[in-house]
């Protein structure tokens, strides 16, 4: 079996497009020695990677099948075997939108996770306000879960203040985009359901929650939802809601903006 040398590889983007405010995707790797590109999916081994020419790569980016970084980044050391320099574990891309990080109270972006340094790069697609970095799969999951925790904390802090339901729903929606662990996803779904119109709640349960959590029962879910609402209403109001971020744009303003904005998938074409 061939190996993939990290020194011959640079990460130039990710598969797909940033159609929601944060997420993860497979990296697009470029081989420095011959300029060939591939979707870096190591699940079937290095020998099965399909390499594409620069012309193909450009056409994929133009068709928004791939998203390019403004500047390439290196394969994270955590994915490389130090003795051979070979890429041995799956690297992953994580992308984010500044508004989401602001609402999650996670500005500035992390520059490391454990011992992995994170080099964030803006995306080439228009004025998206999105950045992405490459890290090991576990690090990317941890980063996304950390953002989800920040968003859930924000949600809980705001709930008792009787805010606009649309504000709360967008925060829960952001949390669902970010959350990767089952525990956080279930928490995010509970809060998302708590902000929905009652008529839609059962449909969301049937189509999304129950498919992700097949043992979840509607009656139990409903009871838990009622309990959560009661608890959140009596929680003391925290001060984080009025925190001002370093960019000078207040979180409260950001929340107003995201509630008024259409979701990304409706405007990004």
């Amino acid at each position: 079996m061939n190996s993939l040398k990290a020194s011959d590889i640079e990460i130039v983007g990710f598969n797909g497009a940033p159609l929601v405010e944060c997420g993860r995707s497979l990296p697009i790797a470029k081989r420095k020695s011959d300029g060939q590109h591939c979707v870096l999916d190591l699940s079937r081994g290095v020998d099965t990677l399909v390499w594409h020419s620069q012309e193909e790569a450009t056409s994929f980016a133009e068709a928004r099948q791939w998203t390019e970084l403004v500047r390439s980044v290196s394969i994270p050391n955590a994915c490389v075997e130090s003795s051979t320099g070979s890429v041995i574990t799956q690297p992953m891309m994580v992308f984010e939108n500044e508004t989401l990080l602001d609402v999650a109270n996670r500005v500035p972006r992390p520059d490391h996770h454990d011992l992995e340094y994170l080099i964030w790069q803006p995306l080439k697609v228009g004025d998206s306000g999105c950045f992405a970095t490459c890290a090991s799969g576990p690090a990317v999951e941890a980063i996304l879960d950390d953002w989800a925790q920040g968003l859930l904390k924000r949600f809980d802090a705001m709930f008792g203040q009787n805010p606009d339901r649309a504000d709360l729903k967008r925060i829960a929606d952001f949390a669902l985009c970010a959350a990767r662990s089952r525990e956080l996803r279930r928490k995010a779904y509970l809060r998302y359901a708590a902000t929905q119109e009652p008529d839609r709640m059962k449909r969301t349960f049937d189509r999304f929650i129950h498919t992700e959590f097949p043992k979840e029962n509607w009656d139990c879910f409903l009871n838990e939802l009622k309990t959560l609402r009661d608890i959140l209403k009596v929680l003391p109001i925290t001060t984080t809601v009025t925190q001002v971020d370093p960019s000078g744009c207040s979180t409260r303003q950001s929340l107003r903006d995201i509630a008024n904005d259409k979701p990304l998938n409706l405007v990004a074409k």
Binding site: N15, G16, A17, P18, L19, V20, G23, R24, S25, L26, V39, D41, S43, R44, G45, D47, T48, V50, W51, H52, S53, E55, E56, S59, F60, A63, R64, Q65, W66, M92, D173, L176, C177, R185, Q196, D199, R200, R203, T204, R207, F208, T211, E212, P263, N265, L266
Partner: protein, 263 residues
């Protein structure tokens, strides 16, 4: 010489029954940019190249080979470069269609410059590639029989179709000169679109699943007895293989394909 005209009959006799069983049942796979586009826009079908997001190379190959604008599928394989949602359609879905098949990716054969390498006489220029592409074309109702023979003759085990290069080389050296599985994956073409509601399985990345949840939340509640919306119809079908999505949605769909045909 058309690809697969040089099969060693003795070599394949022992493996042919098992390979035919795989060929008869292998689902057809299509990867599209996102399922949201297909749900939001009529006619809610895997589109032909007249309407879809196919590349200029696809349309170029169609023109050179004299093919109608087609909807494209691979026999059991999914490639993430085509998009963020992978669909599988059960064997037999081709019965209601007109179309054709090829034992390789025609876009790769005739792209400019060509992605697939091979040796033809006197050169491997465009005229020879077009002649080779036309000679290798298979009728839609016969591709599974040829696919069975191909698996038996060129692979030591049927599962190798998903994991390795063919273990025997072909006269045009297509399998020898390429590491890209599009050189040995059967391409199936329908001259008409194919409904997304007929899918047997599907899988998408996490972004698509978030978009789908948002789309669902914007839909009005369906009143009992009223006609189902397109989204209602979609959700009435098979659920996603990974409900929260996965970046490795193609690998997950291929895993499902292999489970269906027990390889």
């Amino acid at each position: 010489m058309p690809l697969l005209s040089d099969i060693d009959e003795k070599a394949l006799a022992a493996r042919l029954p098992a390979s035919n069983a795989v060929a008869d049942n292998v689902p057809l796979v299509h990867v599209d940019r996102t399922v949201i586009d297909l749900i939001e826009h009529p006619p809610h079908e895997i589109p032909t190249s007249a309407m879809g997001s196919n590349s200029d190379n696809t349309r170029r190959a169609e023109g050179l080979l004299g093919l109608p604008q087609s909807a494209y599928f691979y026999a059991g394989r999914a490639h993430p470069k085509f998009g963020s949602t992978a669909f599988a359609f059960a064997a037999g879905c081709e019965d209601a269609h007109t179309g054709s098949a090829s034992p390789f990716d025609t876009g790769g054969l005739l792209s400019n410059p060509p992605h697939l390498k091979l040796r033809l006489n006197p050169t491997d220029g465009e005229a020879e590639r077009v002649a080779f592409g036309k000679a290798s074309m298979l009728p839609l109702d016969q591709w599974r029989a040829t696919f069975g023979r191909f698996l038996a003759a060129f692979f030591d085990a049927d599962v190798d179709y998903w994991q390795k290069k063919p273990s025997r080389f072909d006269p045009e050296r297509l399998f020898e000169l390429n590491n890209d599985w599009r050189a040995w994956t059967f391409e199936i073409r329908f001259s008409e679109g194919h409904s997304i509601h007929d899918r047997a399985a599907w899988c998408a990345d996490e972004t698509v699943m978030s978009q789908l949840r948002r789309l669902d939340d914007q839909q009005p509640v369906t009143i009992p007895g009223d006609p189902l919306s397109v989204l209602d119809q979609f959700f009435a079908g098979p659920p996603a293989l990974e409900p929260s999505g996965t970046p490795q949605f193609c690998e997950r769909l291929e895993q499902w394909v292999r489970e269906q045909i027990a390889v």
